[in-house]
């Protein structure tokens, strides 16, 4: 797992979920859920699964929750495990996120989301382009101006590999602004902390990162958010969207849950019902607020449509960039 940055930040916060397993009362939907986590303890997937499990059990929607970490292959090991042992994994929900789309496109693992049962997309984080607070660049136009003036001394950094999420977001913005998405210099860092340090030290001029991470440093007066990939301004923040500045980019890094292929339809429906009921609970609100997650609920077929759209969006761009 290379996208350690947003991962770790939320991670710790979400580890609270260790408490788990409170007994259910009246409105229980499911007796038990087993969470399969494709990465190690303390990662972003881990935090999402344990946070969801905490909300589900403490609100009594689910009786008990158990967790299993299975890292390897950028998530591929867990996906293969879920498919191979599908018959015995009726209670299992695997957590995953945008990289399942990117990595099946690049062929890191042979499977894709189509080989799994889609339960629901649950939360997400928008992306953002930021500059240091003392930068001369004031908005998206300023950023493009700086790039057009002197492309050779202009670099955008990010916490993912070339062709990874942060790079794609920056390339999407360039493409939407009518520039060549392959033209700018993208500097990859292996973690968010290093990328942010690179930005503040002046090594790179702008940084592509997750909104929840950017907003914390913007509140501290260290960075300025130039544009967010949300359709409209996010509640409680005055950061401008890219859309309102004429850069037509919408992108969300989602997280959601998958079940084994071919499992009982009634069981999948019960899982979806449990997640849908979860959004109404105080317990979920506490977990969500603590982690700074944005509710983006996409159950069943809506999840499929969303994933297909994202696959097209990312696939097209990666072909343009020459990664496919």
């Amino acid at each position: 797992m290379k996208f350690t940055r947003r991962v770790m930040m939320t991670a710790a916060a979400a580890m609270v979920a260790f408490s788990g397993a409170a007994q259910a009362d009246g409105h229980q939907v499911l007796d038990e859920i087993h969470f399969l986590i494709p990465g190690g303890a303390g990662g972003g997937w881990d935090g999402t699964a344990r946070g969801t499990g905490e909300a589900l059990t403490e609100s009594g929607i689910v009786g008990t929750a158990s967790y299993e970490n299975m890292s390897g292959g950028g998530g591929g090991v867990a996906i293969a495990h879920l498919i191979e042992n599908a018959e015995s994994m009726g209670n299992t929900m695997m957590v995953n996120s945008t990289p399942i789309v990117i990595r099946s496109l690049t062929g890191v693992f042979p499977q894709s989301f189509r080989d799994l049962t889609l339960v629901a997309g649950t939360i997400g984080d928008y992306a953002a382009l930021v500059v240091p607070a003392d930068s001369e660049i004031a908005d998206m136009n300023g950023l493009l101006e700086a790039y057009r003036t002197d492309a050779s001394s202009f670099a955008i950094g990010g916490g993912s590999v070339p062709g990874g999420m942060d790079h794609l977001v920056a390339a999407m913005a360039m493409e939407a602004a009518g520039e060549d998405p392959t033209g700018f210099n993208y500097i990859p860092y292996d973690a968010g902390g290093a990328a942010m340090a690179g930005l503040l030290s002046g090594e790179i001029q702008a940084l592509s990162t997750g909104f929840s991470e950017a907003v914390a440093l913007a509140d501290q007066g260290e960075v300025r958010i130039l544009g967010v990939t949300a359709p409209e301004r996010i509640e409680g923040s005055d950061a401008p969207t890219m859309m309102e500045q004429g850069v037509d980019v919408e992108f969300v890094n989602w997280r959601g849950f998958f079940a084994a292929p071919g499992i009982d339809e009634a069981q999948v429906e019960a899982m979806r019902a449990a997640i849908a009921a979860m959004y109404e609970t105080e317990e979920w609100e506490a977990v969500r607020a603590r982690n700074g997650w944005v509710n983006i609920h996409n159950p069943g077929s809506e999840f499929e449509t969303f994933l297909e759209e994202q696959e097209t969006q990312i696939g097209d761009l990666m072909r343009t960039l020459g990664f496919l």
């Binding site: 991670a11 609270v16 260790f18 390897g72 990859p188 990664f323």
Partner: protein, 508 residues
Amino acid sequence: MLEGLMIGLQTAINPFNLGMVVFGCIIGTFIGMLPGLGPMSIIAIMIPVAITLGDPTAALILLAGVYYGAIFGGSTSSILLNAPGVAGTVATSFDGYPMARKGMAGKALTIAAISSFAGGTIGAILLMVFAPMLSSVALLFHSAEYFALMVVGLSAIAAFAGTGQVGKALMMTILGLIMATVGEGALFNMPRFTMGLMDLQSGFSFITLAMAMFALPEAIFLVMNPARSAQGGEGDSSGKITGLRITREEARAIAPVIGRQSVQGFFIGVLPGAGATIASFLGYAVERNLATKEEQAEFGKGSIKGLSAPETANNAACTGSFVPLLTLGIPGSGTTAILLGALIALNVTPGPRLMVDEPQVFWAVIISMYIGNLVLLILNLPLIPYIAKILAIPRNYLIPFILFFTLMGAYIGQNNATELLILVGFGVVATILRFADYPLAPLLIGFILGTMLEDNFSRSMQLYRGLGFILERPMTLGLLVLAVVLVLLPSYRAMRARKRAQGVADGD
């Protein structure tokens, strides 16, 4: 500042918070001894407990105790079993384990505890005084300088290039660098050298390689050679741990090491892209170069300076890594990233305004460091004779114990059984290499520094579109020159000594 210190002290010294730090230190020390569970995982495990305390100060004090306990626990397994659980304690095993084999396990643990304490405490003082000024230092380094710093770190291998071993040490380093390229790098979105195996997608895991290079061959040597007990034949044959106390000469020898490495380690820790591992290697390399010729010969064979240097630097660097965390909100290491998450969950956002907006949290962190370090020392010194007794266990029990410990360490981090196959495979290779008298430490140093070396090098290449950064950035050039000097200086000294000896002979 004094006022802030008093606020911090007031909150920290109440029975409940003191209880928390003791609890944290004990948990940290014992879990930290298990390889595969470094400070990062232990803190992650303890965060829910800390958050349920509700009060940020109490939570931070608990976590600081866990942190320092885990670092100390990690040194224990390096010294006693040659099984470094985290990269930061690899250099500790270079001299710590040979000391334990000479029957000086107790003394080695004592030196480690005192060095850790001094490094952590001096680091905390530096943090308290200089933190606001240092936030700009943290941003002084670009990728080019980090690359140069990693090259300086690699010069630590010179310590293992004894007579006739220069070639072998270099070959092992290069092998380590090669092994670091396996998997999906940070800068390329294609897996390299994975042979299509999904288990190699993220590269070799540090803990598996460390166990395969150090702990497993040691266990195999113990099996093959009945005369070689874990404590070595030279020591007291009854298995009693002798020489727990440090003599006055020894104290005098390590005092300057501790002084230098606390400061050096702290400043390296301040840089968000460096951290405790590089600090420990650099500390080892620098102290070896500063040592006298007789002392230099001891390095790698059980030198107290060689043990004290990385232990001090490692702890000082851990403290230093709090500078970018608290003043900029930037986590410089995995552990500080987890701590940042915990702070945010407690509604504390670190950054330039933290000291102004919430001084009590800032001071609580500093005070918790002092207390964490002190409690750890008080707790551990009396425990050392008992911990060191592990080595007095009869070999027919000790060997299975080490093997179990090693296998568990490799498995626990990844929950992946393939790691065990990799461990055994490399363990056998490492044993053969040891038979052929190849030093294995350079391999591990190369592996640990390889990824960072390559990432920073390619980033600089991409930013400057070529190698121009070496000449354009004076600090990069300076560091690279320093690396060359560190490598060549010992051989130059040796050459001069040989010439002089010859001259004397000729004159006769």
